[in-house]
Amino acid sequence: MHKLVPVFAAVLILISSPGQAELQIQITEGVDKALPIAVVPFGWQGPGAAPPLDVAGVVAADLARSGRFAPLDRKDLLQRPTTGADVDFGDWRIQATDFLIIGRVVQSVPDQYEIQFQVFDVLRGEQLLSYRQPATAADFRRSCHRVADVIYEKLTGIRGVFSTRIAYVTVSRSQSQGQVNSTYRLVVADADGQNVRIMVESRQPIMSPAWSPDGRKVAYVSFEANRSEIYVQDLRSGSRKRVSARPGVNGAPAWSPDGQRLAVSLSRQDGNLDLYTLDLNTQVLTRLTSGSAIDTEPTWSLDGEQIYFTSDAAGGPQVYRVAAEGGSARRMTFEGSYNARPRMAPDGKQLAVVHNDRGNYRIALIDLARSSTQVLSDGRLDESPSFAPNGEMLIYATREGTRGVLATVSTNGRIRTRIPELDGDVREPAWSPFAED
């Protein structure tokens, strides 16, 4: 639905995606008991030989990537039913398959499709779900992910995130005439790393992408004017607006839950980073913290009343909390010498942070009620955790040799995937909210 359009601006070149390598996701660690499931190639009722995309292939890959399902290899399918009447549960029981997905793509009029599918419980021999997902050619892949979302929710009780997206920053370096040239890109891709769109490209750093709560906009920091400035860009139209270019640092934008304000870190004239909220409608700036400490990396509580942030008020960086209207700050983390860049979990009960674990920078969860710390990642230089909107997983930046790559870890620590890209450094992943449509 959300077609991303490239932006053209004086210093920015928007380019189309062909040159950009797509991300390929590898599961590096799964659960022991992934559920066996069969996803049969979908039938096709329409002109030509096949639907625009292999629906079953996309759905099976999504389910496998979650770590909770083990789809049967396609070549091992004993039968390939496309309607409920053709299903013989006996064959599927022989293959020890717990669940069966069948379906067909129907084209009624040009560019209007319907993905019809059924979910069966093989052991009990009954249909669990019958569903029709409309699609167009332009959003066909997204519609396939929605099919996977519906199946995932039916079988796990947890809302799927396959049709969500991720934003991230890439850096590629090239050398010419003894000079190293860097190209920074803000990229938005589907949650499976496919369908890559470059939103902004610049010779100067791009940082800190943050999704608006409705998933329509991304705020980020750009150094295109050779200093930090905060922009808000509409993903559908590609148009953007500079919302903060005050003297000094303009950084760390974080949307309020109602999407009306940005919490930001500004140094202004005095060179000291403090937190502010910026009302996007009125441009009114409200100061939340003061003093000589570095106060940055805000994240909002779900009710919009509190802001958690990084401060070095006690020496090293720790997480603090302050009321969104300002006031005195309260320290929230005490375990370890380094706890920074908090991100609020979708349930509002935990924070993901960058935590120094015996010299290694790792992703950890802070339980706010118990104030306990659980280290989730195992790298040496992990950073930038971002929750999937269903709270089941975190995406973060890690290293593979000298290259930055993205990885995910389930919040119970049991499922890990790695998303290596073919070229360039990848960093600062931000998982989108659920799409509203």
Binding site: G178, S182, N226, T296, E383
Partner: protein, 181 residues
């Protein structure tokens, strides 16, 4: 103020020592690029400029410690991990830059603060800014006026050296003094 006098005394001592050593050559941006520097100043501030009368330049008769003619190594201040205090070893260089700015009211300098790659990125922007402010404060003490000095922090985004070891990190925790902006 007491501290300032100590610094001044130290400067004189070090200056004498510096005179007896070989004069430092100016490294231009191209050479820095070839050596792997990514974040070098974007404007061509490198070559020439010694004749502009950097206070120290004329005093030593060699290349300047301060001012736009200062060699690359005299335009970079390095810092400790998660630290933004200027180490005493840079007092001489910074005093020379401060005096140059004081003697040349039209001169402008931009202090570009950087951090190593460890930890979170926006916090590192904060560290880079703090480092640039620390250098700024020293220059102001030396007689520069605030209108002459701009600061910017690139955090860990523009490393001078690509690498994930102590040496690379120590070379990336820096403030670059860039004239002419």
């Amino acid at each position: 103020m007491t501290k300032f006098k100590t610094v001044a005394a130290l400067l004189i001592v070090t200056l004498v020592t510096a005179c007896s050593g070989p004069s430092k050559s100016t490294i231009d941006e191209g050479a820095a690029g070839a050596a792997g520097a990514v974040g070098a100043a974007s404007s061509g501030v490198s070559a020439g400029g010694t004749g502009a009368g950097g206070a120290m330049g004329s005093a030593t008769g060699g290349s300047a410690l301060g001012g736009p003619g200062a060699s690359q190594e005299n335009r970079i201040i390095y810092f400790g991990y998660d630290d933004f205090a200027v180490k005493p070893e840079y007092d001489v260089i910074l005093q020379a830059h401060g005096k140059y700015l004081s003697a040349n009211p039209a001169a402008r300098v931009r202090l570009e603060g950087h951090a190593d790659e460890r930890g979170s990125r926006e916090y590192n922007i904060g560290l880079g800014e703090k480092r640039a402010q620390s250098v700024r404060n020293v220059l102001l003490l030396q007689g520069a006026v605030s209108d002459q000095i701009a600061t910017v922090s690139f955090g860990e985004e523009r490393p001078a050296v690509i690498g994930s070891d102590e040496e690379a990190w120590s070379l990336n925790r820096r403030v670059e003094i860039v004239y002419g902006q």
